[in-house]
Symmetry: D2
Subunit: 311 residues, 4 copies
Amino acid sequence: MKLSNDETRQIAEARSHEFSTRRATVPALEDILYTARPVLDHGFVRVVDYMGDDTSVVQAARVSYGRGTKQVTDDRNLIRYLLRHSHTTPFEMAEIKLHVKLPIFVARQWIRHRTASVNEYSARYSILDKEFYVPERSNLAAQSSTNRQGREGVLDADEADRVLTILRRDAETAYSDYLDMLNLDENDNVLSEDRSGLARELARMNLSLNFYTQWYWKIDLHNFINFLRLRADPHAQYEIRAYAEVLLEIFRAWCPISYEAFLEYKLHSTVLSRSAIAVLKKALRGERVTREDSGLSKREWDELNNQFQLG
Amino acid sequence: MKLSNDETRQIAEARSHEFSTRRATVPALEDILYTARPVLDHGFVRVVDYMGDDTSVVQAARVSYGRGTKQVTDDRNLIRYLLRHSHTTPFEMAEIKLHVKLPIFVARQWIRHRTASVNEYSARYSILDKEFYVPERSNLAAQSSTNRQGREGVLDADEADRVLTILRRDAETAYSDYLDMLNLDENDNVLSEDRSGLARELARMNLSLNFYTQWYWKIDLHNFINFLRLRADPHAQYEIRAYAEVLLEIFRAWCPISYEAFLEYKLHSTVLSRSAIAVLKKALRGERVTREDSGLSKREWDELNNQFQLG
Amino acid sequence: MKLSNDETRQIAEARSHEFSTRRATVPALEDILYTARPVLDHGFVRVVDYMGDDTSVVQAARVSYGRGTKQVTDDRNLIRYLLRHSHTTPFEMAEIKLHVKLPIFVARQWIRHRTASVNEYSARYSILDKEFYVPERSNLAAQSSTNRQGREGVLDADEADRVLTILRRDAETAYSDYLDMLNLDENDNVLSEDRSGLARELARMNLSLNFYTQWYWKIDLHNFINFLRLRADPHAQYEIRAYAEVLLEIFRAWCPISYEAFLEYKLHSTVLSRSAIAVLKKALRGERVTREDSGLSKREWDELNNQFQLG
Amino acid sequence: MKLSNDETRQIAEARSHEFSTRRATVPALEDILYTARPVLDHGFVRVVDYMGDDTSVVQAARVSYGRGTKQVTDDRNLIRYLLRHSHTTPFEMAEIKLHVKLPIFVARQWIRHRTASVNEYSARYSILDKEFYVPERSNLAAQSSTNRQGREGVLDADEADRVLTILRRDAETAYSDYLDMLNLDENDNVLSEDRSGLARELARMNLSLNFYTQWYWKIDLHNFINFLRLRADPHAQYEIRAYAEVLLEIFRAWCPISYEAFLEYKLHSTVLSRSAIAVLKKALRGERVTREDSGLSKREWDELNNQFQLG
């Protein structure tokens, strides 16, 4: 990731101001506010604003407790209780806003989370920069032969070379033809006075899905948690997971108690079906369990067995 | 509105802390942060947190403008342009959180706005206070005989007396029977050791819809504007309008440029239908317009005529 | 529940028409379409429209499968796979619309599910009927002394008598005073020509939370499942659970395969935290487990132990 | 648009079944159910399911009218009244489901409407077909020199040739390299046993934004109306407008009364700001109006003048 001089100056300018506030404030987030954290080859994530912290969750939950109740529960226990029992509304009371630069194919997965606010850079209005994603060799996964959605090992060196050459060459061509259709050279000067240039909203269709876009993305903590539960999961595509990893670090700086509860009750938890519960109970009583008696499908049995070593 | 000693102390405590932040900060909101602004006889509205201001709207809108565009538009013009053309997403980028105390029948209207986050005081867990709404005489509207939804003048003094007596008496009875079923006296002491007391989640059903509840309510500026467009409108019921009036003042302190644009383009604007446009054009050309030729219904014609004095 | 003659006639009328359609059609729902299923003392649930069935879920999921994939999975396995792995969007593709009559305090819980469409009977426009909920003796739960939210046993006969007398008397009073303020007798005739009658939107505030309201409620299958997971749970208040029970039966008639998967993977499943997984693994290996080593809170340990008899 | 043999057979199969239902049924939609209506060069729109019709809107609105009201308003007047006064909830009671094939850059605009349900063809799982959008010459708009977002005339013949050549060539290259990286030939046979093939989820990033994707899209009538108000507007990009035009025809077949009201009160209506109202009033009184006195910006004044010929 390389920021333009303009971007660098704007970030420094934004960071140079300090205000006095009575609002809940998180020093660990203030420290990194506005700065760009690199992701993939040209992407980044920046925290640009936030509202509330762990205490906002607690405060909202405690609206419920009035006359006739005693407040024995401390904040940490309360937050863990709420997350464990899917009392989700208090987690909606904290909010974060990020500036994200990401490849379009990642943006297409990301946007499926509808419970967020988004303002995206518009290629109808503006000209996209020449920035496209090319994976590291170690991330050039081979298609799994057994699982449609999966990756299986990485390409060997020769095939990797070939793929990287193609990706770079096609993106270069797409971009230079994009500029050509816009009747612009690389410095945004008009190429030929005899041509009018294709409308930006049309020319952009020639760019490929690995080109970078950017947006402002604002979400509350509850929906942030849902996003991370899905996108920080090992089954998520590597490229969006790379962003989720950075969001996890931001989460930890922002709301450390909720973060810890998230790891315990969401990210590293598991759901047992009714039949799986029965299998485990039986095994714990020392009885023999078999897939045939379990009511589980082959795949469910394998997953359960794999996790709990039923033997 | 009378705050309890506890509440007064908590507000003072919250206001006593000052933090340093790099976030957008609104001094006019900081001034009133956490303080309770009275509404109706026992209600209030308190701003308890916020994120962003007018510049957040501008900043989000400008993500769209990159290479190849010139930024000639100043902030005020941009905000007015966005609101006028229903570019709503930049207005989602600012957020506010309020603590509101309000009668249950008002809460039932309010909650129909689904695009907000809410944590309500729970009468399943807790005991409701003895606070119920009784209108001022000047707000004791008579049922309109022509419009189901309307009010028509106010009750005369005798009928008003009668109504106020009923409302107070029935609410008093409902509350004392609520406590009785809970097996509690007014100081929350157990009445009789021989009784167990009805579950709180059941006893509450005896309370009437003018009892007060309270909640934390968090919403973004775009949806805040939608709320105000509907609830600050003269057709809204007086009681929810009383809250909307206070929200308007908060809006003005928080985002003065957006507020001014809201008055111009939303609250005091009007929508002309295709047929109404045709009528006005004709009238402006000096031609005679009649309801018969207009394609408007009687009611539409009357509204248009009333607004523009078509003669 | 007693339907008025009008309602009975309208239902019969609606049921008397048969149309020809190419849409997915569920005979088991057609059989009960429009009919009212009683809930509590005056409530009901009626299915008034629906779109799609189990095959709609399958069809939507299979949009994903195109060239290069083989469709070996049968419908049942696919639906179970989707629900198990929280692939929720295919379940949004079926929709149901219900007409529900329910006490206001139940409606206030119900409406917190924001991802549904609602049109409620308006007491601003119309006059509410004299119908209020009074629990059966067996549901007159006592307040738990240990758990704020809980019920604990039922009231004894004397206390139950006293509570039922209060609930009936106060609701009767509230209603007759409601009519009085409206200047109406029980047949909706004007009581006195000398009074104008309080506006309906105000008079309604005198009614208590056990009065019945009604609404049309439309929701997709994914959000219907979320609603049921929370409201058919034993921790939900009895009164809303009574509605959830009826919705479960409707679910079974509508989408039997999804229903069965819902029981297995949602309603009767359990979530194991990271620490609980570690405890169970240890126990399955035959090692001794104790609360002290587990990292679990007292309450978590008790729940886990209670479910799996760790000894 | 050319359907595959498979698709044609599936549509015929779906259309061959007729069921008996008590639900509201729209013969004009049944006539076209499942059939594909072409859009652009390879796209289509198919209605695959629906729930309700104009009477569903009326029925929901009338839940509000109970005791003490008279039903004098006929259906058409009621629907027009509701749409005119932004009573939106009754329009949420009808629902439609479409199968849409569309270029990815159009899909990226479309998905910004968050209040719909979507299941998209997954290029993580599956192989995309070789279908990409190339505009007609008459739609090869030139970039406006005054308005960033606008088109201005069309390209002349030479420049059009050049653009079309580029678009076709780059898309051809992108697709053949896509297959190559997947280690597949055009018949999906493995190219070389020595290579493993890049994971599908990665190879797709080489495709450009004019490639076609497809999805199931389900939305209620209220949000359908919002979508059309924005996307059938002349300011929308031509390519998404082409889809909106087809949706308008479907709307007319589905709910003709709501459609007519939509044209009158939404699509062909105009919003007058507070200042614009004042200007028109003045002009109607025969007074002279000028931009200077009006409080309108230059652009607002031009728009108003343009529409109403203020002279």
